[in-house]
Structure formats: structure tokens, C-alpha cells
């Protein structure tokens, strides 16, 4: 039983990292209508910036906070410079731009920091605690807490502030938003900035367990994409639940089903996704597309 709960907590913890990156994907999908394939590389880039700041002597916590601010600004600049010119173009055009951004960022990281892996300091405490026989690390609990803080902050911004309301309006109907004097472009910029922050959080959470290199977020991006699909691509809440389901099932299957083991465990959540999508094509919490004809 203890082992089961430990595996569960580990699963929710890794799932939280997928959820954070999935949140970033959902933020951009809701406003721009496309999947930002460069989201993972953006996150890796952010982590490199944080790493650079620690190398320059900044303590890890401060380096990460500074990186979050820089990521917000960076995301906004990318929207303004690269995405704005293709705004309103067919989705495929925008997707190609994000693929270009993926290649650009990946190359840029190799050029600046080289291809070798680096260690990234843990900013959450790594001690283990034992509660009622269940042994777990503060790191795992902290990871979940960080995701919940990020999600809570997003919820407050979108539901309780006027700028969040304007962002929701701009995502739902850009043309009408302009008619009520909402600067839609600035809302999209802010959305990209906030997505970059979510990605940076995911990157900073996962980096201590992996090695920091330009391809670090590649596999995480696949899980995040799966989490967003599972939860419903237009639902932030769904992205988090999707991340947790994937994290938990892959960990449970990896620990309990012998023939699956550590190598095949990724297949399990993917099978679940296929099953869910057969029953609910727009994901668990996604809103189905309805068009009047």
C-alpha cells in the first residue's frame, strides 16, 4: 500500500511538470488557435538563461525568478516580431512559423551554449519525509505545489482581473474585441508571454532530474502535448488533469506491470489517450466544435 501511494505521488509530481508545459500549449492554442511546437525549446532556452545566471553567481531561486520575468518579456517579443505578421493567416502558416522557431531556438542554444549536458541545481528541497509509512521527497510535493500556484495565479488573472477578461474576450472573438476598444494584439502578446512563463516553470522543475542540453524538453513536450490532447486542448483545467493522468498511469504501469517496465511505460498513457479520444474526440474537458451550417 505504501509503495502504491509513493508511486502515485511520484506520478502526480511528474504529471505536474507535463501539466505546466501543457498549460503553456493551451494558453496559446486558445488565443491563436494553433499548437506552438516551439514551446519546449522556449522552455529549454529559459532554463539555459537561468543556468547562465547561476553561473554568473546568482543564487538559484533568484536566477529562476529573474528568468520568469525574462521569459514573459521574451514570449511577448516573439509574438510581436514573429507571430503578428502571420496573425489571421491559415493555422498551417502559423504552425510552420512555430516549427521555424523550434529550429531557430534549438540552433541558437547549440551556438551559444554548445551541445554538452550540464547539471541544473535543484531549487526545491530534496529531503525525504515519511508520513504514516509513506516515504516521499519534498521535491515531489513542491513540484505539485508549484503547479498549483501557477494554475491558481492564472485562474485569478483570467477570472478576477479586467485584463484577464479582455484576454478571454480577445481569444473568443478578436474582431468584436476590437469594436469595444480591446487592443487584441497586446492581449495576444501577453498570452505568449504567460505561456513562456508556464514553460519556463516546467523547464526549471524538470531540469534537475534530467541533464540540461538543447534537446532537454523534447520528450517532455510529447507528454505535455498528450496531456493537452487528453484534457481537451482549450481547457487549462483539463491540461493539468491530463498531465496528472499521464504521470500516474505511466508510473503505475512501470512499477506494477512486469512486462512493461521502465522502457515501455510511455505506451500506457498513449493507449489511454486513444481510448478516451475514441469516446470523447475533444478530450475529457474540451468543448466540442460546433458550427452552424
Amino acid at each position: 500500500m505504501e509503495r502504491f501511494i509513493e508511486t502515485l505521488i511520484d506520478g502526480i509530481s511528474t504529471g505536474s511538470i507535463y501539466g505546466a508545459l501543457a498549460l503553456a500549449l493551451v494558453l496559446i492554442f486558445r488565443s491563436t488557435g494553433v499548437v506552438n511546437f516551439a514551446q519546449g525549446e522556449l522552455a529549454t532556452f529559459s532554463v539555459f538563461v537561468a543556468w547562465g545566471l547561476t553561473q554568473a553567481g546568482l543564487p538559484i531561486g533568484l536566477a529562476i525568478l529573474a528568468t520568469l520575468v525574462l521569459s514573459l518579456l521574451g514570449g511577448m517579443v516573439i509574438e510581436r516580431v514573429l507571430i503578428r505578421p502571420v496573425e489571421g493567416k491559415p493555422p498551417l502558416t502559423i504552425v510552420v512559423v512555430t516549427l521555424g522557431l523550434f529550429i531557430l531556438l534549438n540552433g541558437l542554444m547549440r551556438w551559444i551554449w554548445g551541445p554538452e549536458n550540464r547539471g541544473f541545481d535543484r531549487f526545491l528541497p530534496d529531503n525525504t519525509v515519511t508520513l504514516g509509512g509513506v516515504e516521499t521527497s519534498l521535491d515531489a510535493i513542491g513540484t505539485v505545489a508549484v503547479l498549483l500556484i501557477v494554475a491558481g495565479a492564472l485562474f485569478l488573472i483570467f477570472q478576477k482581473t479586467r485584463i484577464g477578461l479582455a484576454m478571454r474576450a480577445a481569444a473568443e472573438n478578436p474582431e468584436e474585441s476590437r469594436l469595444v476598444a480591446i487592443p487584441v494584439g497586446r492581449m495576444l502578446m501577453l498570452g505568449w508571454g504567460m505561456a513562456a512563463v508556464c514553460g519556463a516553470v516546467a523547464g526549471a522543475l524538470v531540469a534537475p532530474s534530467l541533464f540540461l542540453d538543447p534537446n532537454m524538453m523534447g520528450p517532455v513536450m510529447i507528454y505535455a502535448f498528450a496531456a493537452a490532447v487528453l484534457g481537451g486542448f482549450d481547457n487549462p483545467f483539463g491540461a493539468i488533469i491530463g498531465g496528472w493522468i499521464i504521470g500516474v498511469t505511466e508510473n503505475l504501469a512501470g512499477s506494477y506491470v512486469d512486462f512493461i517496465g521502465q522502457d515501455l511505460k510511455i505506451v500506457v498513457p498513449l493507449v489511454i489517450i486513444v481510448a478516451v479520444l475514441l469516446a470523447r474526440p475533444s478530450g475529457l474537458f474540451g468543448s466540442p466544435q460546433v458550427a452552424r451550417v
Binding site: R162, L165, A166, R168, A169, E172, N173, E175, E176, S177, R178, L179, V180, A181, I182, P183, V184
Partner: protein
């Protein structure tokens, strides 16, 4: 009376199709002006050109300043509120959120005052303030769209076919409300309508458009009284 809106030699095209061919007219402060005409005459395009949703050639001046060529959100900020055709509301947002967005650039004290005015004008919206706009009836959505436009205390309100698809009783209710706005706030309005009979009783002046040009202009009473005009252009 000074001209609040001046339109001078306005041309607009969708691709190779010319929709407006040299339109000129003015709307004075406090006036209600109607644009009439058949489908495809260019009425909606005229409104869209005024608020920068289509790029026209020619001049649009608002309060003496050229606004043609400005982006829509800037035109809106100047005090032109557009109620688009077909219930322009944010359907996934609540009634109250829709109204708040109508006064997006304003201070929160003005938003509160605006909400009070909206609910006084359309009590039904207050009952449904926490409901999603998409769950309202067609008439209620149109009321919401108008209330939202009024939230910013616009100097000019553009209304695109407010009666479209509404039951006669609802339409009458809507025009009663507009009459109240006219009397109490003195908002200048430019209104596009197919229902000529209805709008001529409301408007001070009217222009009849025909394939992108003004065919006839005049005071509403004069147009209503002219038998020949009615038969030729207004179809009743």
C-alpha cells in the same frame, strides 16, 4: 449643429468587387441617421469602413479628425461604438462580463455607473447578469449588444440591422429602448435597417443606398410621405 461624422467620397472594395462608389454624407451631433437599401447596396460596408474593419479610400472624419486608416480599437477608443450585425456578443462570457468589456478602457467608477444605466434601460439584463450571453434569446442578445455599446458613453453609435431576425414585439421593445437612449443621452446614431417603415419613424434623416451610391436622401417624414419614393426604394 456641427457635423460629428463626415464621410467624403468613400470607396471600398472586396477584392475586385467595388461595394462603395464615392459615398458622401454627414451626421450631425445628436442626430439619428438611417441607411436604407437592398441587400448588397453597401450599408454594412459603410459602417465597417467607418470603424476601420475594411480599408476604404476616401475620408472619414470624426469630430474633425481623420479616422480612416486607423485600426478598429483606436477608432472605438475615440468614441464610436459599433453594434455589429447578428448579435455581436461574447457568447461564452456572462452578461455582466460583456457589459464590463463595453467600457474596457474606462475607470471602474464609470463601469459601475454604466452597469446601472444598462440595467435601468434593459431590466431583463439585470435578471440575467450572471448568465452566459450565449444562453440569451435573440432579442436579449441584441439588447445586450446595444447596452454594451452604450457602456463606453459613445459619441456615435453605429447599429447594423438591430431588428434582424427578431419577432415584431421584440423589435418594438428594442426601438422603444433606443428612443429612450435618444431622449435621455442624446447619443448620435447611424443605423442600418432593412425595415424602412420602422426606422423612418425613429430617424431624423435617411439615405437610400443603391449599389454603393446614395440614390435618395431626405428627412424621414419627407421620405415616408413620398409615394413614388416608397414604391421605388423602400418596397412597401
Amino acid at each position: 449643429m456641427s457635423a460629428l461624422l463626415e464621410i467624403e467620397d468613400l470607396h471600398a472594395a472586396y477584392g475586385p468587387v467595388e461595394v462603395l462608389r464615392g459615398l458622401s454624407f454627414t451626421v450631425n451631433e445628436g442626430e439619428i441617421v438611417a441607411l436604407l437599401g437592398a441587400n448588397g447596396a453597401g450599408k454594412t460596408t459603410t459602417l465597417r469602413a467607418i470603424c476601420g474593419m475594411v480599408r476604404p479610400r476616401g475620408n472619414v472624419r470624426f469630430d474633425g479628425n481623420v479616422v480612416s486608416g486607423m485600426v478598429t480599437e483606436k477608432v472605438a477608443r475615440r468614441g464610436i461604438a459599433h453594434v455589429p450585425e447578428g448579435r455581436g456578443t461574447f457568447t461564452s462570457l456572462t452578461v455582466e462580463e460583456n457589459l464590463i468589456l463595453g467600457a474596457y478602457p474606462k475607470k471602474s467608477s464609470e463601469i459601475d455607473a454604466g452597469l446601472k444605466r444598462s440595467y435601468a434601460l434593459f431590466p431583463r439584463l439585470e435578471e440575467r447578469s450572471q448568465q452566459r450571453a450565449g444562453t440569451l434569446s435573440g432579442g436579449e442578445q441584441q439588447m445586450l449588444a446595444i447596452a454594451r455599446a452604450l457602456m463606453s458613453r459613445p459619441r456615435l453609435m453605429l447599429l447594423d440591422e438591430p431588428s434582424l431576425g427578431l419577432a415584431p414585439l421584440v423589435t418594438r421593445e428594442l426601438f422603444d429602448a433606443l428612443q429612450t437612449v435618444k431622449a435621455e443621452e442624446g447619443t448620435t446614431m447611424l443605423i442600418v435597417e432593412q425595415n424602412a417603415n420602422l426606422v423612418l419613424r425613429f430617424a431624423d434623416h435617411a439615405h437610400v443606398l443603391e449599389t454603393g451610391e446614395i440614390a435618395v436622401s431626405g428627412d424621414s417624414e419627407q421620405l415616408m410621405g413620398d409615394e413614388k419614393m416608397r414604391r421605388a426604394y423602400l418596397g412597401y
